[in-house]
């Protein structure tokens, strides 16, 4: 197994891709923490801990969960909303993958073609990708590790991402719910969210919490 560690950046001007450093993707039931293959539950618990410890935890839902195109998408969307509320965390969508013209507002949306803006001038310290097509997510994760010190989590609908600090594969709404349960459990144990207060669009987490 590779000794390489997938840690938050900024690692290099153009950091190597984890796959080329020998990190392999997990098999079903497994997940990755910083390049190590671990049981999936362990990774989910660790992700919950990371999200709670963040000052600006942010969830990036991608097209596969934003758009109601198959049976799974609305289920995951619902779970993500609950997760965002319970953590709390911002939800910043990756609505599509176009190089947007003339500008993109990184507080409103993200896009892998605009890497300098991808994580909001490094204001986001922990982010989570869900439902972004793997090729684009692979790009986004690499650029984040190249340019910022953001801790990345990828809840992948398919085979996972070595370039994320934590990666879970075959994500369903149930796995997001496992993450919610892990957050709840940690909170019950007295772990407090370190998130700075924020207001997002029409939705203020404080008001929704009730």
């Amino acid at each position: 197994m590779s000794e390489y560690k997938v840690l938050p950046g900024p690692e290099a001007y153009l950091p190597p891709s984890a796959a080329s450093m020998g990190i392999t993707l997990p098999d079903p039931g497994e997940a990755l923490i910083e390049g190590r293959i671990v049981p999936e539950d362990e990774a989910i618990e660790y992700a919950a801990r990371k999200l709670l410890s963040a000052k600006v935890p942010t969830i990036f839902p991608g097209p596969q969960v934003l758009w109601k195109w198959d049976e799974m998408a609305p289920k995951i969307a619902k779970a993500l909303r609950e997760l965002a509320v319970i953590l709390p965390a911002r939800l910043i969508p990756m609505a599509d993958y176009r190089p947007k013209y003339p500008k993109i507002d990184p507080a409103v949306e993200i896009n892998p073609n605009h890497p300098n803006l991808t994580i909001w001038h490094n204001k986001i310290d922990v982010c989570m990708f869900v439902g972004v097509h793997c090729h684009l997510s692979g790009m986004g994760l690499k650029m984040i590790r190249g340019g910022t010190d953001c801790y990345t989590i990828a809840m992948c609908l398919m085979a996972g991402h070595e370039d994320a600090c934590i990666s879970v594969r075959d994500t369903t709404d149930e796995k997001i719910r496992k993450l919610i349960d892990a957050v709840k459990k940690l909170k019950a144990q007295g772990v407090k969210s370190q998130a700075l207060p924020f207001t997002q669009f029409k939705h203020d987490y404080k008001s929704v919490k009730e």
């Binding site: 758009w67 599509d96 890497p115 190249g146």
Partner: protein, 415 residues
């Protein structure tokens, strides 16, 4: 069919959007690849390589194929047409040139189809602009390349120089030694290339004539089983069929350094393509039983080769054995990804590493030299070109010369 995987081995995961066990309109049963490759009994058939391509495609559940005549792949391409006439695929036609054919294959793959095509030599070169485009667009098209000479003056004979050009296109490149390899590689190639974490084009290559026009014994599973079909929604990129999100999307937008798009996007795009190629290792290892085959690598003398050169190496090893010289063999099955670790490990005991090749450039020798320590151990040859044969006696001669043994110089032509 390849060696059976030991029980308890990690298994390949294939698409399951179409129920396994269900029958297609030709009455073939969609079969889990693990069962298909490792549990379905095969029977021996005596066939040419071209016929073997037909047999593989008959069981591959492809949606489409596009053809263009060029020796030595023309027979295979025509046979696939017959399969279409028999109802084994949705569409098939003759394109107007290899450049167009590869673009037509791209169009079909963008639209979510499993596509197969064949080409050779100058055709490969004419098509070339498409190959890095396929890889960048993450299109899991399979092209079977039946290598032939490419430079002027024209030749139709086997020569593997075109493979050198293909190496850095971003495609997966496998090199078949025999008709059996060709059959296995074509079917397994679809399974590996279409993995969501890989999802790259694959060139399954063989040496023209030596494989395509040679009659050889091949084990074939019954023709009433077939691979599960391709699932375009298990793709790392968006399928262009207006059935999946995002609706506003272009495959693939220009990524240039300008006021609104970063150069880093293009660089990481390339890294992601190459990462996908690396990820194929895991799947390839379980399906092909490794990226290399290694025999007797504890010996001081090794032959490292791919394609037909492996066969010639095997015969040379037999001849040398009769004279008491023991030689090991490393057969490289996957050229991309290159089996770097495997080759290092397999060659660690060798004092002399011979790399026989069917091209004048000696690209495989360079690849080996680039990844092993003490690469003066590599003897880059013997090599032939232009479709010349590489008799096993010539490899024997090269090895004996290096060892300081007496050799009678072999004349190739005339006397």
């Amino acid at each position: 069919m390849n060696k059976k995987a030991a029980v308890g081995n990690k298994r390949i995961i294939a698409s399951t959007h179409v129920k396994l066990g269900q029958k297609n309109k030709k009455g073939q049963t969609y079969t889990d690849p693990n069962r298909f490759f490792f549990e379905t009994p095969g029977t021996a058939n005596f066939l040419t390589g071209s016929e073997v391509i037909r047999e593989a495609i008959k069981r591959a559940s492809i949606d489409m194929s596009v053809a263009y005549p060029i020796t030595p792949q023309s027979e295979a391409a025509a046979l696939i047409g017959e399969l279409y006439a028999e109802g084994y695929m949705g569409d098939y036609f003759r394109g107007e040139s290899e450049f167009a054919v590869m673009s037509q294959c791209a169009g079909a793959a963008f639209g979510g189809a499993r596509v197969f095509t064949t080409t050779a030599g100058p055709g490969t070169m004419r098509a070339f602009e498409n190959f890095p485009m396929w890889a960048g667009a993450r299109l899991p098209i399979q092209v079977c390349v039946t290598c032939r000479g490419i430079n002027s003056p024209l030749s139709i004979q086997p020569d593997t120089l075109e493979l050198y050009f293909l190496l850095e296109t971003g495609m997966l490149i496998w090199h078949a030694e025999t008709a059996q390899d060709l059959f296995d590689f074509i079917l397994k190639g679809f399974v590996v290339a279409e993995q969501p974490d890989v999802h790259l084009p694959i060139a399954v290559c063989c040496d023209g004539f030596f494989v395509t026009h040679t009659k050889d014994t091949v084990m074939l599973p019954p023709d009433d089983v077939c691979l599960p079909p391709y699932d375009p929604y298990k793709s790392p990129v968006v399928c262009m069929d207006m059935e999946c999100p995002p609706v506003r999307t272009m495959r693939d937008p220009f990524v240039m350094k300008s006021n609104y798009i970063s150069y880093a996007a293009h660089a990481t795009w390339q890294q992601e393509m190459r990462a996908a190629c690396d990820r194929s290792r895991k799947h390839t290892i379980s399906l092909l039983d490794g990226l290399i085959d290694a025999e007797n690598t504890d010996r001081e003398i090794l032959i490292v080769a791919s394609g037909t050169a492996v066969s010639q190496g095997r015969e040379a090893i037999r001849l040398l054995e009769q004279e008491g010289v023991k030689v090991g063999l490393v057969k490289i099955k996957s050229l991309r990804p290159f089996p770097t670790q495997e080759v290092r490990e397999a060659t660690k005991n060798a004092k002399h590493i011979f790399v026989p090749e069917f091209n004048m450039a000696g690209w495989l020798a360079r690849e080996v030299q680039a990844v092993i320590p003490d690469n003066h151990r590599v003897v880059a040859g013997p090599r032939v070109g232009g479709g010349m044969t590489l008799p096993s006696e010539v490899i024997v001669e090269e090895i004996k010369k290096r060892l300081g043994m007496k050799v009678a110089t072999l004349a190739s032509r005339g006397s």
